[in-house]
C-alpha cells in the first residue's frame, strides 16, 4: 500500500517527498517507524506524523469489538441452516452454521455434487433461502435437479419459485470466482431466470434476496490451472481465496460449502503406518488443510458402488436413475471438537441421495 497525498490533510506531496528521502515508501514502512525518531530525521512535525498514523490505523487496522458486543451480534446474526437430512444434521450439530466454511471432500463420483444439489434445493425450497451455487465445471444442469425435484411433493409452481432462488454462476477462473462471491455482499439479488410476474410479486412480499448459503462446487478444478506455474503463486492464491471465503462467511453471515477433491499424496511427509485416514488427504495442500471450519469426508458405500461400476463411474445420468447411499464422516471441526466424545468425534452417517 502506497502513501498517497490526500489520504490525510497532513500528508501532502511535500511530506511524501520527505518521507521518501528517509526510505519510507509505503504505509507499512511508515507504520514500522517510530514517529518521534522520524520527526527528527525527516523534519516533519510530530503532530503531523501522529495524525497520519491515526488515519492509517482508522482506515486499515482491525476494529476493536468488545466481547460482549460480539456475543450480542453472534446471537442475533448466527443461523443454523439444517441440511434436510436428520442424520447429517445430527453429525453437524444442527446443520451448517452461518459464518463457517464447511468442506466436503471425497473422490470422484462419490456424490459430492449430488449432495450439493440436494442441499441447495432443500435450502431454497424448505427454508426459503437464497442460494449461490458456484459451479466452475458447468456441470449443473436441469437434468441434475430433476431427480431431486421429482421426489418432492410440492407442486410445480412452488418448486419453480424455489429454484429461482438458486443463483448459478459459472466462473472460468479464480478472478471470476472472486467476482461471483461479491454477489453475496449485495443486500438483495434479483434472479433473472424465472423472473415472471408471479415471482416478482412473491419476492416483494418476502424479500429474502440476501444470499445465506454459498455452495462452491469443485474448488480444486478452479485452482488446478495455477499449479502449472510456480507452486508459490498458487499457494498465495489459495491464501487469498481462503481469506476471502472466511471473511465473507463471517462478515456477511453466510454459510459456505466448498467441495474439494481428495488426493493420495502426502505432501512429502513421511507416512506413518497407522495413519488415521488411510492415505486420503484433502487436495490443495497443507495450507488449505487448516482453512475450513469443518471438513466432511464422503465415501460411497460398497453396495451402491456395485450399481455404478459399469463403465462410467462418474456418470451423472446413472446417478440420477437409482438412489445411492453415501457415507459421511467428520474429519476436522473447530466447533464439534471439544463437545463430542471419540465415537461421535468421527461420526459417520449414511444418507441416501437420489
Amino acid at each position: 500500500m502506497r502513501l498517497t497525498a490526500g489520504m490525510c490533510p497532513a500528508l501532502t506531496q511535500d511530506v511524501i517527498e520527505k518521507l521518501k528521502e528517509c526510505n519510507i515508501k509505503n504505509i507499512l514502512d511508515f507504520m514500522k517507524t517510530d514517529p518521534e525518531a522520524l520527526a527528527m530525521k525527516a523534519s516533519i512535525s510530530y503532530r503531523d506524523l501522529c495524525s497520519i498514523r491515526r488515519v492509517i490505523i482508522a482506515h486499515s487496522a482491525a476494529f476493536v469489538v468488545r466481547g460482549e458486543d460480539l456475543l450480542k451480534e453472534a446471537i442475533t446474526a448466527t443461523k443454523v441452516i439444517p441440511t434436510g437430512t436428520a442424520e447429517l444434521d445430527r453429525v453437524l450439530g444442527g446443520g451448517v452454521l452461518t459464518g463457517e466454511v464447511v468442506e466436503l471432500c471425497g473422490g470422484w463420483g462419490v456424490g459430492k455434487s449430488s449432495l450439493c444439489v440436494t442441499l441447495a434445493t432443500h435450502a431454497a425450497l424448505h427454508l426459503g433461502l437464497s442460494v449461490l451455487y458456484i459451479d466452475p465445471l458447468n456441470s449443473i444442469s436441469a437434468l441434475r435437479f430433476t431427480p431431486v425435484i421429482e421426489k418432492l411433493s410440492e407442486d410445480a409452481g412452488t418448486v419453480e419459485e424455489a429454484l429461482s432462488r438458486i443463483k448459478v454462476e459459472s466462473p472460468a477462473d479464480v478472478w471470476g470466482l472472486l467476482k461471483a462471491l461479491d454477489l453475496v455482499k449485495q443486500p438483495y439479488l434479483s434472479f433473472g431466470r424465472f423472473n415472471t410476474g408471479g415471482c416478482n410479486r412473491f419476492n416483494s412480499n418476502n424479500p429474502s434476496g440476501k444470499i445465506k448459503l454459498v455452495i462452491l462446487d469443485s474448488l480444486a478444478s478452479i485452482l488446478t490451472p495455477l499449479f502449472i506455474g510456480s507452486t508459490k503463486q498458487e499457494l498465495g492464491m489459495i491464501n487469498q481465496l481462503a481469506a476471502a471465503l472466511k471473511s465473507l462467511a463471517c462478515e456477511q453471515e453466510v454459510a459456505i460449502l466448498v467441495v474439494n477433491n481428495v488426493v493420495q499424496a502426502d505432501y512429502g511427509k513421511r507416512r506413518k503406518r497407522n495413519d488415521m485416514y488411510d492415505e486420503w488427504k484433502p487436495a490443495l495442500g497443507r495450507f488449505w488443510e487448516s482453512v475450513p471450519h469443518t471438513r466432511l469426508f464422503i465415501q460411497r458405500l460398497p453396495n451402491s458402488i456395485r450399481q455404478h461400476t459399469k463403465e462410467l463411474p462418474t456418470s451423472h445420468a446413472q446417478n440420477m436413475q437409482d438412489s445411492m447411499t453415501i457415507n459421511i464422516s467428520v474429519w476436522k471441526s473447530t466447533r464439534l471438537k471439544q463437545t463430542v466424545s471419540m465415537k461421535a468425534q468421527n461420526p459417520e452417517v449414511n444418507i441416501s441421495l437420489f
Binding site: 512535525s45 498514523r53 466481547g67 456475543l71 505432501y267 512429502g268 511427509k269 488443510e289
Partner: protein, 382 residues
C-alpha cells in the same frame, strides 16, 4: 512539541494500569505462570487443537478467580484477541465459560456435602462457605441467570480484532501500541495464527524467503517492543506451512545458505522427532528469539479403545436447536440437560482424542497430554 500529540505520550506514561497477574493461567502447562513480556508459541499441524488450547487459555484469563465463594481459578484479566484465521466463535467461548463455572459450582457443592459429613473436603474449591450456601439456597433459574450474567461481565474485558487481509494484519500488529493505550490494562494478547497470511505475504510482498523474514522481522520488532513496554503476555498460534522436504529444497534454492552437512544432520534429527515439524523459523529471528515457551501440539491417535458411554455429549448447538426445523436463531444459555451430561462426561476421558503438548521453555522439555472437553481442556495425569 505541540500540544495535540502529547496525548499518546501521556497515555503511555500516566494512565497505564499495570496488567493483572496471569500466574493462575495454567498451572499444569505453565507452572508458576507466564511472566509479563513472555511469548508463548503454539504450533502444530491442522486439527491438533491449537485454537482450542488458545481458547481455553483465553477463557481462564477472562474468568474471575473466585465467584460467590467458589474458586473458579481464572485470572480476571483483560484480553486482546487478534483473530486472523477467523475460526474463533464467541458462542463457543461463552458456552465453555458457562460450563466451566457450572463445573466449579458442582465441585463446590460436593465439597460442602463432604464437609457436612465431617470428611476432609478439598480445601481449594471453597473460599467462603457462607457465600456458597447463600447461592445454593436460591433457585436454579436464578443461579443460571447469574452464571450467564457473570460470563457476559467477563466478556466485557475481551477485545476482539478481526483481520481479514494481509495488510490489515500487518497494520494491526504495527499499531499494537495504540490499541494497548486505548484498551487499558491488557495483560494477555492472543494472536490466532500468525501464519494466516504467510503465503500471501510470501508471494505478493516478498520475493524470497529471506525477504519475507526481513518483512516479519520488521513487524515483530515493533510488536515485541510493545509487549515488553506494556508487560503483556503474548500467546500466538502458528500453523505448519510446509513439509520438511519442500521447505528444505526451497531453502537451498532460494537463499543459498551454506549449511554444512553437520548442521543439516542435526536438523534432520530434530525434525524426525517432531514428525515433519520444521524447526526453522519462517517468521525471522526476531520472532524466534523472543519466544520463551514453545509448545508443540499433536493429535494422539486413539489412546485406548475404551467403551463409549452413550450419547452423553452432543454438540451444544443441537441442544439448542433440536426442536426447530427451519432456520433458527441461536439462543444463549444452554439447556438444563447440560449439567447432567457434563456429569457423565467426567467419566469418559478415555474415550476422547488425546492431544499432546510438548513444551520447551528454558531448554527444559516437558510433555503433557490433554483431552478437550466441553468446559475446556483437561490435563491428564501420567
Amino acid at each position: 512539541m505541540s500540544k495535540t500529540p502529547t496525548k499518546p505520550l501521556l497515555g503511555g506514561l500516566g494512565c497505564h494500569i499495570p496488567p493483572t497477574d496471569l500466574i493462575q493461567l495454567d498451572p499444569h502447562l505453565l507452572p508458576g505462570g507466564p511472566k509479563p513480556g513472555e511469548v508463548i508459541e503454539l504450533t502444530g499441524g491442522s486439527n491438533c487443537g491449537k485454537s482450542s488450547l488458545a481458547q481455553h487459555l483465553i477463557a481462564t484469563a477472562l474468568l474471575p478467580h473466585t465467584w460467590r465463594g467458589i474458586k473458579i481459578g481464572g485470572c480476571g484479566a483483560v484480553v486482546m484477541l487478534v483473530d486472523c484465521d477467523l475460526h474463533f466463535s464467541i458462542l463457543q467461548l461463552e458456552n465453555r465459560m458457562q460450563k466451566r463455572i457450572k463445573q466449579c459450582l458442582r465441585l463446590g457443592k460436593d465439597a460442602l456435602k463432604k464437609r457436612k459429613l465431617g470428611q476432609q473436603a478439598e480445601e481449594n474449591v471453597i473460599v467462603d462457605e457462607e457465600e456458597i450456601r447463600k447461592l445454593l439456597h436460591s433457585d436454579k433459574g436464578s443461579i443460571k441467570n447469574e452464571i450467564i450474567s457473570l460470563v457476559k461481565q467477563c466478556l466485557k474485558s475481551l477485545s476482539y480484532l478481526r483481520c481479514t487481509n494481509s495488510t490489515q494484519y500487518a497494520i494491526t500488529l504495527l499499531s499494537l501500541e495504540e490499541y494497548m493505550m486505548e484498551l487499558n490494562g491488557v495483560s494477555l494478547l492472543v494472536i490466532d495464527s500468525l501464519s494466516a497470511y504467510s503465503w500471501y505475504d510470501r508471494v505478493y510482498r516478498a520475493k524470497s524467503w529471506t525477504k519475507l523474514k526481513d518483512y516479519y522481522n520488521g513487524i515483530f520488532t515493533t510488536v515485541m517492543a510493545c509487549i515488553k513496554k506494556y508487560s503483556v503476555v503474548m500467546i500466538a498460534t502458528k500453523g505448519i506451512l510446509f513439509s520438511r522436504k519442500f521447505w528444505e529444497d526451497d531453502y537451498r534454492d532460494k537463499t543459498r545458505l551454506q549449511t554444512d552437512s553437520k548442521e543439516e544432520g542435526e536438523m534432520k534429527d530434530a525434525e524426525e522427532d517432531m514428525e515433519g515439524v520444521s524447526e526453522r523459523e519462517l517468521f525471522g529471528n526476531v520472532w524466534s528469539s523472543h519466544v520463551t515457551h514453545r509448545i508443540i501440539l499433536s493429535l494422539q491417535h486413539n489412546p485406548t479403545t475404551g467403551s463409549i458411554i452413550g450419547q452423553q455429549t452432543e454438540d451444544s448447538f443441537s441442544e439448542r436447536n433440536d426442536t426447530t426445523s427451519s432456520v433458527s436463531n441461536v439462543t444463549p444459555g444452554g439447556s438444563n440437560s447440560i449439567a447432567n451430561k457434563s456429569l457423565n462426561s467426567t467419566t469418559s476421558c478415555s474415550d476422547r482424542y488425546m492431544y499432546t503438548a510438548e513444551l520447551t521453555a528454558n531448554q527444559n522439555k516437558t510433555k503433557l497430554m490433554y483431552a478437550i472437553h466441553e468446559e475446556g481442556i483437561r490435563w491428564q495425569n501420567k
